[in-house]
């Protein structure tokens, strides 16, 4: 027993531990439709012309993930609850480790039909009546967009990561991931319900600043070009167009 007690700490010391280096931070210019708070537009979107347009209260749901870093461990599995009330979900995105379970709880009065449209074998369409819940386990790292087939504006991003290095981009597009070890890593940006950007980076023990300019728009996003006039009250939203009397 004595030899075993001394051997375990020695083995733990012999394991290669990642060298903690610095912080990876930067800014992400999120897709226009994500920034505007309107993913799916019709033909027209005009300002009222009397009161200023308020900024969107929706979080963009943009997440930067660093994976492929050797010697790192995935976050432990857990159960996360997403509450659906009416046509909104809280939170609208979750970042979890493999094997985690997401509980979708319908607290509103509207029946939903949730699924992962891109992988309906993982999560097929199933009716979620008011007052009921549904558990869904996500085992494989990746990005999943859970959507209601009846009300597609209700979409929840589920990001399953196998590394603890990820960050949620704030309203200004900034992110910061501290304690990233040296070595190569794969940086991915989830925005607008899909992986919008991906690149390989190398961390060298110092802080790294990254500026991602050209995150792609979501494929199903509508092109609002040529409709209405350029907005004047919320210039940071490129598709805030036109004004109405």
């Amino acid at each position: 027993m004595t030899s075993l007690r001394t051997l375990v700490p020695l083995l733990l010391l012999a394991l290669p531990l990642p060298a903690v280096a610095g912080t990876v931070k930067g800014t992400v210019r999120v897709p226009d439709n994500v920034r505007s708070g309107r993913m799916n537009q019709g033909y027209w979107r005009l300002e009222n012309g009397n009161v200023p347009v308020r900024p969107s209260t929706r979080k963009p749901g943009t997440i930067v993930v660093l994976d492929g870093i050797s010697g790192t461990h995935a976050p432990p599995p857990k159960t996360v609850t997403v509450e659906i009330a009416g046509l909104g979900a809280t939170p609208r995105f979750v970042v979890i480790g493999p094997g985690s379970v997401v509980e979708f709880k319908n607290t509103g009065k509207i029946t939903h039909e949730l699924s992962v449209p891109a992988d309906e074998t993982l999560m097929p369409i199933e009716r979620l009546n008011p007052g009921t819940f549904r558990h869904q386990k996500f085992g494989v790292p990746g990005g999943y967009l859970v959507r209601c087939s009846e009300y597609p504006s209700l979409a929840i991003s589920v990001i399953v990561v196998d590394s603890p290095y990820y960050a949620v981009v704030d309203d200004k597009g900034a992110f910061s991931i501290p304690g990233v070890p040296d070595g190569k890593a794969n940086l991915k940006v989830w925005a607008g319900g899909h992986w919008a950007h991906e690149e390989s980076i190398e961390t060298n023990g110092k802080d790294l600043s990254i500026r991602i300019e050209s995150a792609k728009n979501q494929p199903e996003a509508k092109d609002a070009e040529g409709q209405g006039k350029e907005g004047d009250s919320e210039g940071k939203e490129p598709d805030s167009k036109g004004s109405a009397e």
């Binding site: 708070g37 309107r38 993913m39 799916n40 537009q41 019709g42 033909y43 027209w44 979107r45 005009l46 300002e47 009222n48 009397n50 009161v51 200023p52 347009v53 308020r54 900024p55 969107s56 209260t57 929706r58 009330a85 009416g86 046509l87 909104g88 979900a89 509103g108 009065k109 509207i110 959507r147 087939s149 009846e150 009300y151 597609p152 504006s153 209700l154 494929p219 199903e220 509508k222 805030s240 109405a244």
Partner: protein, 522 residues
């Protein structure tokens, strides 16, 4: 003949080209028609897009006007602030909307919903659930946009129905803050499809979540349409529409252009499909089957040019036939008749070209040959006046010249087959066929051929005797033995001379006297 042949070849070439054009021309024509139908659908799709856009603006204007109503603004303001009973506010808003828009269906509106500033439904008008209120629909992008201050439109697909919606904020009475929002929805179903068909002159189908929810042609026959559209998802993502695609529906073939609805319905496989008829098949049977009586009317079909062309072709052909065949043939026959009448010695073969010239030259050669042959033969007329059987008769006297002259036309027909025999003399028509011999059994020691010959000579003798009597000539001393012996001798001489099988004699009258004509038979 040369020009006739050229004309025949030209007509055949012309017919071949016309047939080739008739068989191949429909194919590019059908392709062109298909292209035109595709372009028509393209234009219809563009018009449809513009119509949807104009409609959306119209709904936005309407809901914005509605949102300016003071009663609605006040009710929504109090609902947003949480003051007062929601049920009372619900009733107030509902009654007010019904007062402002008493005929929703007439205005093309399916439903109007008023929400407070928190996204909570205060009242609904129209639809099946106009008694329900209180739920939060603030997560909908259009509602969120309206509560932020935007006027916008969207297309929703819920409960198997498509709804075109337009939302607008409702401002406070002082117009300094947003107290709620309104949205109107116009159902996009069968009535909408019929309206599109009327305006665009194409059939329309509306698709949602892989199903046909409305169409102007029976939706049962369009069961394959959602799959076909889904197969062209790439085109739709890139071009916002598909090219004109052929769809087989029963025995009919249609062309279809599909385009997505905008807004969140685009995520629900919501498409409108414009459908046109594909042109008929290009094979001859289909073309003829699709020909109607109207196509064959005087105004539709070029009967006169066609008839003129056909008559022209026939006229040219007949003219060439006349010019090259019938004319020369008539001249040749006339000249041959002249020869028979002894008006000439030979044909003027220089007048004829081509085949007729050759025939004329052949006739001349034959005449010359026969003439030479006759001049070397022993004509019957070589009988001396004292010779039996008919001294001084036409049979003896002048027989040489008669025989020689008569032999020419008689020799003509066998030498020139196909040209027709010259008109025979009145009394004794020339013939290659031996006269019918009387059926008598052959004598011992003689062959059947010799018996025929004897019979022929006996017949000729009897005819000759009878003719002489008819002509009033004396027949004294004209016995069968002498007559037969003479004819046998002459026959042998002629057969040796002409290398012929036999010689036939005919009796005829010349210048009132009975004469004999000898005809070599090959």
């Amino acid at each position: 003949m040369f020009l006739s042949k050229i004309w025949f070849i030209l007509v055949a070439l012309f017919a071949g080209v016309a047939l080739s054009i008739a068989l191949t021309a429909p194919r590019p024509m059908v392709q062109r028609l298909q292209e035109l139908e595709g372009q028509r659908l393209d234009r219809a799709e563009y018009a449809m897009e513009q119509m949807l856009k104009v409609d959306a603006h119209k709904w936005i204007d309407r809901v914005a006007r509605l949102g300016r109503d003071a009663v609605l603004a006040e009710a929504l303001d109090s609902a947003s602030r949480g003051s007062g009973e929601l049920g009372v506010q619900h009733r107030t808003v509902q009654v007010r909307i019904q007062a402002l828009l008493p005929d929703l269906a007439g205005a093309g509106i399916s439903t109007i919903v008023a929400v407070d500033a928190n996204g909570r439904v205060v009242a609904r008008v129209g639809g099946d659930d106009d008694k329900s209120f209180g739920e939060n629909i603030g997560g909908a992008e259009l509602i969120d946009d309206a509560l932020r201050g935007y006027l916008s439109d969207d297309v929703w697909g819920a409960g198997g129905r498509l709804l075109r919606v337009a939302g607008a904020p409702v401002l406070s009475k002082s117009r300094d803050r947003i107290v709620g929002a309104l949205y109107v929805g116009a159902e996009t179903g069968p009535q909408f499809a019929e309206r599109l068909k009327k305006n665009l002159d194409v059939d329309v189908a509306l698709l949602l979540k892989g199903k046909v929810i409305a169409s102007t042609i029976p939706s049962e026959v369009l069961s394959g349409l959602p799959d076909m559209v889904e197969q062209h998802r790439q085109d739709i993502d890139n071009l916002k529409r598909t090219p004109a695609l052929p769809i087989d529906v029963g025995n009919e073939t249609y062309l279809a252009v599909a385009a997505p609805f905008p807004g969140q319905a685009g995520l629900q496989k919501a498409y409108y499909v414009l459908i046109g008829k594909k042109p008929a098949h290009a094979d001859m049977r289909s073309l003829l089957a699709s020909t109607s009586a109207r196509d064959l009317k005087w105004g539709s079909f070029p009967w006169i040019p066609l008839l003129v062309t056909i008559l022209g072709i026939i006229a040219v052909g007949l003219f060439l036939q006349r010019f090259e065949v019938e004319g020369p043939m008539q001249r040749l026959r006339a000249e041959l008749r002249s020869l028979v009448r002894l008006d000439g010695a030979k044909l003027d073969d220089h007048k004829y070209g081509g085949g007729f010239g050759g025939i004329a030259r052949d006739v001349n050669a034959a005449l010359e040959h026969v003439s030479i042959a006759m001049s070397g033969a022993h004509p019957l007329g070589s009988h001396g006046p004292g010779d039996a059987p008919a001294a001084g008769s036409a049979f003896a006297g002048g027989g040489e010249s008669h025989f020689a002259q008569a032999a020419r036309p008689a020799a003509g027909p066998p030498l020139i087959p196909g040209l027709g025999a010259p008109p025979p003399p009145a009394f004794a028509p020339p013939s290659d066929e031996p006269p019918a011999a009387s059926p008598s059994p052959p004598a011992y020691g003689t062959t059947a051929s010799e018996q025929d010959e004897d019979g022929h000579i006996r017949d000729v003798y009897e005819q000759f005797l009878a003719t002489k009597k008819e002509c009033g000539e004396p027949t004294t001393g004209l016995t069968l033995e002498k007559f037969s012996q003479r004819l046998h001798d002459n026959r042998a001489a002629l057969m040796a001379k002409h290398d012929c099988r036999t010689v036939r004699f005919t009796v005829y009258v010349k210048e009132g006297k009975a004469s004999l004509r000898a005809t070599p038979v090959k």
